[in-house]
């Protein structure tokens, strides 16, 4: 965990605040980001913007990134168009579906208040 200059916040990888799953249709990937709790969801709604996700996936040159918010599921659904090198038929990638891309998303750094971060160690969900 990296402590910021202010020392009131720290940077944590997204997977400490949320889990998610990738799916594909053609050349479009959708990646769900499901917060572990309401406090994480509020923080992600503020920070995990379309622009930030587009930047994180910039090496795949998305033609469009759309965020759909689902407050009742404390989740968001990102739709990334044009990121699969053509998708299951065209891509040369071993992972033509982009099944692994949720784990690229889950490494994205999020700035978290130290008090919240202290509660977010990775632990078994039950």
């Amino acid at each position: 965990m990296n402590t910021n200059n202010s020392s009131n916040t720290v940077e944590l990888p997204l997977y400490q605040l949320a889990h998610g799953r990738a799916g594909d249709k053609g050349n479009t990937s959708n990646i769900s980001v499901i917060a572990w709790d309401a406090e994480c969801f509020a923080l992600l709604a503020e920070q995990l913007t379309e622009a930030k996700v587009a930047q994180w996936f910039s090496y795949r040159h998305p033609t469009k990134v759309t965020r759909h918010i689902l407050p009742k599921l404390e989740a968001m659904n990102f739709v990334l168009e044009g990121v699969l090198d053509g998708g299951v038929n065209d891509a040369l990638n071993l992972d033509t579906h982009g099944k692994g891309l949720s784990f690229w998303m889950l490494d994205l750094p999020i700035t978290v208040p130290a008090a919240l971060a202290a509660k977010l160690e990775v632990k078994e969900y039950s």
Partner: protein, 470 residues
């Protein structure tokens, strides 16, 4: 009234309920062609304990149907799900004996031949002759249909290269076949959730213009269609999201009620987990706009849906609705598009990544001018990377002492694609030090085009099939 999972028969009193208004139980025993084939047994046993229901097998991914067409061309009696015997054989008797209808797209490119094979399985087991209905009309490969489709797509490909062309049909034919008494409904291409919605329409007598109920039944099907992806598959991260019994994951069953709400649980005496987390991951799987999930039957809307725990390994889904169905039907056209080649070789020990990278550069210099190549360093950077190698060029590949070089490419000409195999194989002698374990593969490449067409252009229907004894 919710049935307790610990005692499936609790509260079950069909005599006191209006016929057709008791819950419908639909289980799904495969999520794709190539899934485990032993999932159906526990699902069927659980359905029997619940007094009957419907068993789905979802077996058609986007390209599966094109591969089935290739098989049908080689042998007119083939072209349906190749693992049909393993899927249906072990449960056919129990289904016929206990009022469990089987509804599946395992007919693929040849539903008629699939039906005949099921008749043969029943006869071999000494069972009564099942009433089998076949849904037809999805196959659009007649010359005039192809001409229409290619014009619609604005494509100038030679129709001879087209391998398959199928419309996604909806739930209507399935529902009517069940109302007419089918034990088994065999389809080719239908929208996956329609395999569940059809039985719900037949069971409850839902109007197909009741968009709310169509949305609910569709999302019940959506939760089931990927098999174990809602019961602990495609989910586990050890230490964070563990799943017990990954070797015997239970396949899912939905309890659908007349008002459209539904619960999802898993077959009894199996591994896996069903909770608000597995449920939320699956309800959003392959969804784009949550308020507009398009199927032939409805535009389903989960923007206000909730997924809550209802008991151990059981969730309740509420708040789903739907809007008027799309005017047109989606069609996929698959066509031959050259050859896909890939080849691999491994390097381990000091400078492993550097030796693998040198091997990749060597291949690029040898044949990079003939076709676009993708180079992966498996163990350092592979699936996160893009085909153009931008992430690799940014230096993202991590340190590794055990790296497998992978080179992949496609070309219309087989002999050009084959050069990847030959050049990687030659690295045994001509490559960097210590390269071993070459594996190569070359296969025809299929590509897909999609469009929508008016419903009137799709002659969908169903018919009951007579057994043809050889």
């Amino acid at each position: 009234m919710h049935t307790e999972i610990s005692d499936p028969m609790a509260n079950h009193s069909p005599s006191s309920e209006t016929k057709g208004l008791k819950p419908l139980y639909v289980g799904c025993a495969t999520g794709f062609s190539g899934d485990r084939t032993d999932g159906a047994g526990p699902v069927v046993d659980t359905l029997i304990a619940l007094g009957g229901g419907v068993l789905n097998f979802e077996t058609l991914a986007e390209r599966t149907l094109a591969l089935a067409q290739v098989e049908k061309r080689k042998n007119p009696a083939m072209g349906y799900e190749p693992l049909l015997d393993d899927l249906v054989g072990p449960v056919l008797k129990r289904c016929l004996d206990h009022n469990i209808q089987i509804v599946s797209n395992f007919g693929a490119a040849n539903p008629q031949a699939c039906a005949q094979r099921i008749f043969a399985l029943a006869r071999a087991q000494g069972l009564r002759t099942p009433r089998i209905a076949v849904v037809h009309g999805d196959d659009l490969t007649k010359p005039e249909q192809l001409t229409f489709l290619l014009k619609r797509l604005g494509s100038d490909i030679d129709p001879k290269r087209v391998v398959s062309a199928n419309a996604y049909l909806g739930a209507g034919e399935i529902a009517q076949a069940l109302k007419d008494g089918a034990d088994i409904v065999v389809t080719g291409r239908v929208s996956d959730p329609s395999l569940t919605l059809g039985p719900a329409i037949a069971h409850f007598g839902w109007s197909m213009q009741d968009w709310h109920l169509m949305g609910c039944g569709t999302m019940a099907g959506h939760m089931l269609e990927c098999g174990t992806q809602v019961t602990g598959g495609y989910y586990s991260v050890p230490g964070q999201k563990s799943v017990p019994g990954m070797d015997c994951l239970g396949f899912p069953i939905a309890e659908i009620r007349a008002d459209g709400t539904f619960s999802v649980f898993k077959a009894a005496n199996t591994g896996g987990r069903v909770d608000d987390r597995t449920g939320r991951e699956q309800i959003l799987y392959e969804v784009h706009d949550p308020a507009r999930y398009l199927t032939p039957d409805v535009v389903a809307d989960i923007s206000q849906a909730t997924v809550t725990r209802e008991g151990k390994d059981r969730i309740l889904i509420q708040g789903v609705t739907g809007h008027q169905r799309p005017d047109e039907l989606k069609v996929n056209v698959c066509y031959d598009n050259g050859y896909f080649a890939e080849a691999e070789i491994s390097y381990a020990g000091f400078q492993a990544k550097e030796r693998a990278a040198l091997a990749g550069e060597t291949i690029r210099k040898r044949i990079g001018h003939l076709l676009p190549l993708r180079v992966d360093l498996i163990g350092a950077l592979s699936i996160f990377g893009d085909d153009a190698g931008e992430l690799m060029a940014q230096g993202y590949a991590g340190a590794s002492r055990d790296v497998r070089l992978r080179v992949a490419g496609v070309h219309l000409q087989k002999e050009i694609a084959e050069k990847i195999l030959r050049e990687v194989t030659a690295l045994y002698c001509c490559g960097p030090a210590g390269g071993g374990g070459v594996r190569t593969s070359l296969r025809p490449r299929l590509d897909t085009l999609s469009c929508t067409i008016p419903r009137e252009a799709v002659p969908s229907g169903f018919s009951f099939v007579q057994e043809q004894r050889a």
